[in-house]
Symmetry: C2
Subunit: 606 residues, 2 copies
């Protein structure tokens, strides 16, 4: 077969190869699909593709959900001379982020689409003409119900994971709340629980352009000219929102196409104009105006936040381990919107990871950052419990055999001794997750980390830990009172702008706060100050603009005063000199201190 293929062997080697789109007929009489709008629809054709092998236990199925203009053809090639593979070929294939050697991958064209699944340009059986605007308005919920129907048709009861970006991510969220018992892991990328006013506005402009096109004729354009002008304008507007200002600047700047001076006319002369024009023209070749109307409307309507009154209420029954990925430069579905999902799941005590990837590609980054997104997806799939739902998916520490091989830092070892088995631990500034990983193995805790560095966050995900990407000074106030037994802050206190406030927050969020820090009143430091009259030389922070140097000279005595004044009990004080405990004169002799503090009535130490 390979000999007849136009692609070099290297290309096909890491591809799923030649694939074809299948058709399923669902909701056949007497069944029909009851839509959110109140109308019913059936039978429904669904176009789908699959890659990889379904395991005998049927426990390795991964559903991939596509975005607005995607389709069932997510990976591989339809013909040997295809110029381009499926839309997410960078992610799906042998050895890739979604490894088809391990997983059985399914991707289906959405309800309302124009690539083989029933949609507004399908034939209306009642009239034998295309539906046009007589097609019922469909929603994300309806799309997911059809996907569920397809999985049943394929004999798959549970998904190991559901994965998708943009509108695909909305479907992922819907899966977790509509079929909580059917999803072990959910990976929602560059998405939102609901569109904001600005996104609705952009969609509305696109729809207006289509509806205003004289060739649209109420969606019954199939016999005559197509509403290409309107659809092309809609695509141009959309395309601007998929990129970022920085990305556009890098790609086009103010370059002129094929010229070094202005032409002083109204042809497309800036490269960015030519690009948009090309995007518009190419789009009308492959997409249907009616589908564009219906699918953007479905996106506008989706509002998980309004469901049951709040996002917290809507996500109360989620059982899946949810992984949220956003991109710094995505201004269509912003990181703040992704954070709403993370916060809601947190407030329900659910297992969730969050990573905000620094990329210049805007919303499109979910397709254009295969390396980092791939690492995350691979990690999340590996962490998805195959034996689920027998174990409690919200308990993040039950993968004991994967950890414990970690060489712990000295202060981490001391901190670990302070933690009771099977407690809930929040590690602030958790780095790559060494402490949490060890605690999970040694103490079977339910751990969670907060970390500023994206690579460290990815490392945590690869260890299967629950982690939030962010600045701990901003993260703490988002967390509910007493949501942890221990909140740990190791060797970071002196680098904070507001250490006192962070300690207060740690005591609000956790029953016990565990802090380790270098003691600024160690005799060597005092001697320097008394005899030589200066503090540590690094206090001028000369190293680099970007360093996070220690900002403060805090001592054990400082912390003790802080506790006395704030009515905080010191449950344990471990004063260390060269790694060994010192008892007498700790504030003079200790170079490093670990404190366990509490405000609650009872202590909570082993």
């Amino acid at each position: 077969m390979l000999s007849s293929v136009a692609h070099p062997p290297e290309t096909l080697r890491d591809s799923v190869g030649l694939v074809r789109t299948h058709q399923a007929t669902l909701f056949e009489p007497p069944d029909e699909l009851r839509l959110e709008c109140g109308r019913s629809l059936g039978p429904i054709q669904v176009a789908y593709e699959t890659y990889g092998q379904l395991s005998p236990q049927r426990d390795n199925a991964v559903l991939v959900c596509h975005a607005l203009t995607g389709d069932a053809h997510a990976a591989g090639y339809h013909a040997p001379d295809d110029k381009r593979p499926g839309w997410w070929d960078v992610m799906i294939g042998p050895g890739k982020g979604i490894d088809t050697n391990s997983y059985f991958v399914i991707c289906a064209n959405v309800l309302g689409g124009c690539k083989g699944t029933t949609g507004p340009s399908s034939l209306n059986p009642a009239t034998d003409r295309p539906w046009g605007l007589d097609f019922p308005v469909i929603t994300i919920e309806d799309m997911v119900k059809v996907q569920k129907g397809l999985l049943e048709h394929l004999g798959i009861e549970r998904l190991l994971a559901v994965v998708g970006g943009s509108m695909g991510g909305m479907q992922v969220l819907e899966w977790t709340v509509r079929y909580p018992e059917s999803v072990a892991a959910a990976i929602a990328i560059a998405t939102t629980p609901r569109l904001n006013a600005q996104s609705i506005a952009f969609d509305a402009v696109g729809r207006n352009a289509i509806l205003a096109d004289p060739d649209f004729v109420h969606g019954q354009y199939h016999a005559g000219s197509l509403p290409d002008r309107g659809l092309s304008i809609a695509r141009m507007v959309g395309h601007i929102t998929y990129l970022s200002e920085e990305g556009m600047h890098r790609k086009f700047g103010r370059q002129l196409r094929n010229a070094d001076r202005y032409r002083y006319d109204f042809t497309n002369e800036f490269s960015v104009e030519t690009y948009l024009d090309h995007q518009g023209r190419a789009f009308v070749e492959r997409f249907d105006a009616n589908s564009y109307l219906y699918i953007t409307k479905a996106m506008d309507y989706y509002d998980l936040t309004a469901r049951n009154g709040s996002l917290e209420a809507a996500t109360r029954d989620v059982q899946a381990k949810v992984h949220v990925i956003s991109f710094c430069s995505d201004w269509l579905f912003t990181p703040a919107q992704s954070r709403q999902i993370v916060d809601a799941l947190h407030s329900n005590g659910k297992a969730v990871t969050y990573c905000n990837i620094d990329s210049p590609y805007g919303h499109d980054a979910f397709l254009l950052e295969p390396e980092r997104v791939g690492r995350l997806i691979r990690a999340h799939l590996a962490a998805a419990p195959a034996d689920w739902p027998e174990t409690d998916a919200t308990v993040n520490g039950d993968v004991g055999d994967r950890s414990s091989l970690v060489e712990l830092r000295a202060d981490h070892r001391r901190i670990e001794e302070l933690i009771r088995p099977q407690s809930r631990v929040l590690d602030l500034g958790c780095g790559g997750g060494a402490l949490l990983d060890s605690l999970r193995g040694a103490k079977r805790v339910r751990g969670k980390g907060v970390e500023l560095d994206a690579d460290a966050v990815i490392e945590c995900c690869e260890r299967g830990l629950s982690v939030t990407h962010g600045d701990l000074e901003h993260e703490l106030p988002r967390l509910a009172d007493s949501s942890y037994d221990y909140v740990v802050l190791s060797k970071t206190l002196r680098a904070l702008r507001h250490p006192g406030r962070v300690l207060e927050e740690m005591l609000r969020v956790g029953r016990v706060a565990v802090v380790s820090f270098e003691n600024g009143a160690h005799w060597s430091r005092r001697l320097r100050m008394v005899l030589r009259g200066h503090s540590a030389p690094e206090d001028l922070g000369c190293c680099s603009w970007r360093d996070t140097p220690n900002l403060r000279e805090l001592s054990l005595e400082n912390l003790e005063r802080f506790c006395r004044r704030g009515n905080i009990r010191i449950l344990s004080c471990i004063a260390l000199s060269k790694g060994k405990a010192v008892r007498a004169w700790p504030n003079l002799r200790a170079s490093e201190v670990i404190l366990a503090l509490t405000r609650s009535g009872e202590g909570f130490l082993p």
Copy 2:
């Protein structure tokens, strides 16, 4: 007259009252205007309005430049029963930001417009039909040339100020570089020296929508249906870019209009859709599709950065005092673009102020923040030298009689003694400008401040000081080597994240760095550390999340070590205890220290 007026007397009292639009005919034969595109145009009709009285010396004229869809009618009412005043009535009138009791204000419709000035829907004298797309492509430069022609027609040789927002700001910039000798002060609001790729893309979509409208017929639509659908789409796209995501969220959120549930059809049901639809419909009533094409093209073409190879080169001959105002949430013409103007002028040693106003209103904030923008404009107009150009406008300290009434802080008094008369001084964290104001009066320095707080920046502007709104740790690296004689940092060193790096930068940018700080090695502090083993209690920063507490315990000895290591000379060391100089054991006895440091060979103290 008031009795017949539909407006309540309160409204008219602070209005310029009833006004009318005048017409001037410029560039009559044998003259004609040579356009940037190479073609010529003439005669040119110009519609304009004026408010206030021209002074006998003709030195109080303020030109207001309008944005894309504005016109000559900037203030007052055309008829007693007008529902709305001119487009910038909040800013122009007796006692307002541009006070018509003091200034003679002129506003003219731009070349290419559709409100009385010659444009593409005017009659082409050669054919006696509207020009349509046969009208020559015009530029911002051409618009400004026509404005200059109008001023000459009115007998005004020099402008006290030229003011404008958005595209009006581009005209302001063009005035400063094209007619440097004719402008004393330039106030450029929410503008850019050139559009970025994203803005060009949005304009291109709008133009595409108009050009694709079957009613456009190559711009010759005047006899039949108008291209309202295309123009309305263009306006909708534009309108989204004029607001901010936050502003749209506050104004509309996901509210439905007249409904509490979805209608499941394609009518406009979200409030934001209705709003956009209304904006589109209202716009086609008042604006011309041809003008929209031509004016957006003029904006896309404008590129002050490319002129002479760089923005620095383009602004080399600017004589006006330039004031730049941007808005945090403006994503169309971003604060970063405003900063490019400021940086270029700085690098040429020009007088410039910059304020970045925190507003949720996006680009439209230039019309919607009359209070703060008004305070700034009022201050800038007051600071514009009426006797200009007799004095050197780039020297910011020549208004001696306006200052010197300031009660100086003790450390400021000491610092002032260190400064040579008529030198160049940069004050980092200048607050409301007390030190600079005093230095201007007492030492006639050329001063400039950097300040983080917007209100303090406005205060500086009201004192007529040159000031940049920003974080000094970010501002310093933008400044050229040795661009100041003194760089002052008073009582801020210990609150910095990177004090050492800031000192290095101060010594790069200035010949002498003057720094005042509380001495962390004062005996009382040493005693506390030695005997009680803790540093200052405020070092835990418990006060508030938003405070900028002192981060570091720095001593005179720390600074001396820093200087020794860095080969920095200490020109002067003033050690103070309770405001009095101490000579012996300064690091032990001084509670406050002022140091003058240098790296250059020669000292530079009085």
